[in-house]
Symmetry: C2
Subunit: 280 residues, 2 copies
């Protein structure tokens, strides 16, 4: 199966980076973005070969279409893309929630050619100007088949992921949403809350630690609204578990349990070291 | 007032970096560390001119002594340093809590020559091998006088801070402990709790966001035990405020209040941008 042409819908950080990485591999890339300025920026940056405002024209001749729009927009666009795309065009998305996406994918007329995707790469900056063709290089790219995804689609998706330098990793959508609620969606909430909590602090008192911990708060609010809402059951459960853990730590502090506090800090250091000692 | 010789007590990340920065300015530095291996490493790395295991010998001839040991050890050592140091030796510490430290400073026989200090620089790595002479360069270095600190001591401390590249910033110890509970001590707890929360997660699912948010968890447990215990009243208050904020966000998620969630995320991005010194 050779891939010669791709369509990228949404030309922000992820879409722009995806398009740029595909172009570097000699793939012809057509792009579309509802935001005219973003589309033009992507074209000027050389991330795509051709810009259009017509979804049908962008999909025409594409071996693969990649949806790089906020999660709720993915859900809305999937039936339209399925209707407009040539029958053999593989459909891949990049949203950070996968149960809602694969549920819609399984209901498409040609659902066998659609598969969920989530690159574990990114940064808090957004928009085409933040794009990097190397963004996915060496990073895990999770693939979540729907109940009707074909083996051909799975192979093709893995091929596309390797093409942009990512490491394909197949997992069930439900498991993805559970794990990411903990590793990504919870950290996002924590960072946003901390940024709000410290916004009035004298700037001279802000050190590198706080800057690190509030970096995520800079992420795109529209995208994160969709992610948190679509995965809210898991996110609420994780947040409640985390709050319970914080409460316990606060109780130890109130009770002055020095040895237990040191024990928690020591375990945390070990856990943090293990988290950083691994290539993702 | 010229400074020709300094004593550094504790040769970990902060002490080693402080010693190295002073040496770069032509100051003769004598060092001591209760951990024999750490002391020897600091000597081998050229961070100090002379290593000794005798506090009196290290203090002999010093124009300034800098205490770079965990906060509880600072409290314990202060009276001994005051007793052993020549009468004109200025005493500066670097602990992340300042009320407890300046209270002890105000009770010293020669309390006028002691002042609290806290460099807002650091990293999660510890020990002399992690030291960098440039660690403090361009960073705020908070100075907190006690009730008896003399103007001469304040001038001398500011001079030492500028010598190592830091920006001296004077503030009351009580205010320091309140602000740092929010900007540093709370983030430390959040990072530790998140590292513990995610330690069993499949390594392949760990992205850059989680690594950022758990970096602080790698900090020295002994030092942080002291910081959290000595500032626990402020830390408990800040943690409780943060928990209340998280709870409110979880309630919005449970109630499916999409617009309010987007509003919080948007405010969080603005706040985070302001913290990083950029317009968001």
């Amino acid at each position: 199966m050779t891939i010669e042409q791709a369509a990228v819908v949404g030309l922000g950080l992820i879409g722009g980076s995806f398009a740029g990485a595909l172009r570097q591999q000699g793939i012809r890339v057509k792009g579309v973005d509802a935001d005219v300025a973003a589309g033009q920026a992507a074209a000027q940056l050389g991330l795509i070969d051709e810009l259009s405002d017509d979804l049908a024209a962008v999909l025409d001749g594409a071996d693969v279409v990649v949806l790089c729009v906020p999660p709720a927009t993915v859900l809305r666009l999937l039936p339209e893309v399925d209707r407009l795309a040539p029958p053999s065009t593989m459909i891949l998305d990049t949203a950070s929630v996968k149960v809602a996406v694969t549920e819609v994918m399984s209901t498409l007329v040609r659902g066998e050619r659609a598969i969920g995707g989530h690159p574990l790469a990114g940064k808090e900056a957004s928009g085409p100007a933040a794009s990097e063709a190397g963004l996915f290089r060496g990073h895990t790219f999770i693939l979540t088949p729907s109940t009707v995804t074909s083996p051909r689609t799975m192979d093709l998706a893995a091929q596309v992921v390797r093409m942009i330098g990512g490491n394909p990793y197949v997992m069930p959508a439900a498991r993805h949403d559970e794990v990411l609620a903990r590793t990504s969606h919870l950290p996002q909430i924590l960072s946003t809350a901390l940024a709000l909590d410290t916004q009035d602090v004298d700037a001279v008192c802000i050190g590198p630690a706080l800057r690190d911990m509030t970096r995520l708060a800079g992420s795109d609010p529209t995208m994160w609204r969709d992610i948190l809402m679509l995965n809210r059951q898991n996110v609420v459960a994780e947040a409640n578990g985390y709050i319970a853990q914080l409460r316990e730590f606060v109780s130890m502090l109130e009770a002055g349990e020095t040895a237990r506090i040191e024990g928690v800090l020591r375990s945390g250091r070990q856990a943090g070291g293990a988290l950083r000692g691994v290539a993702a």
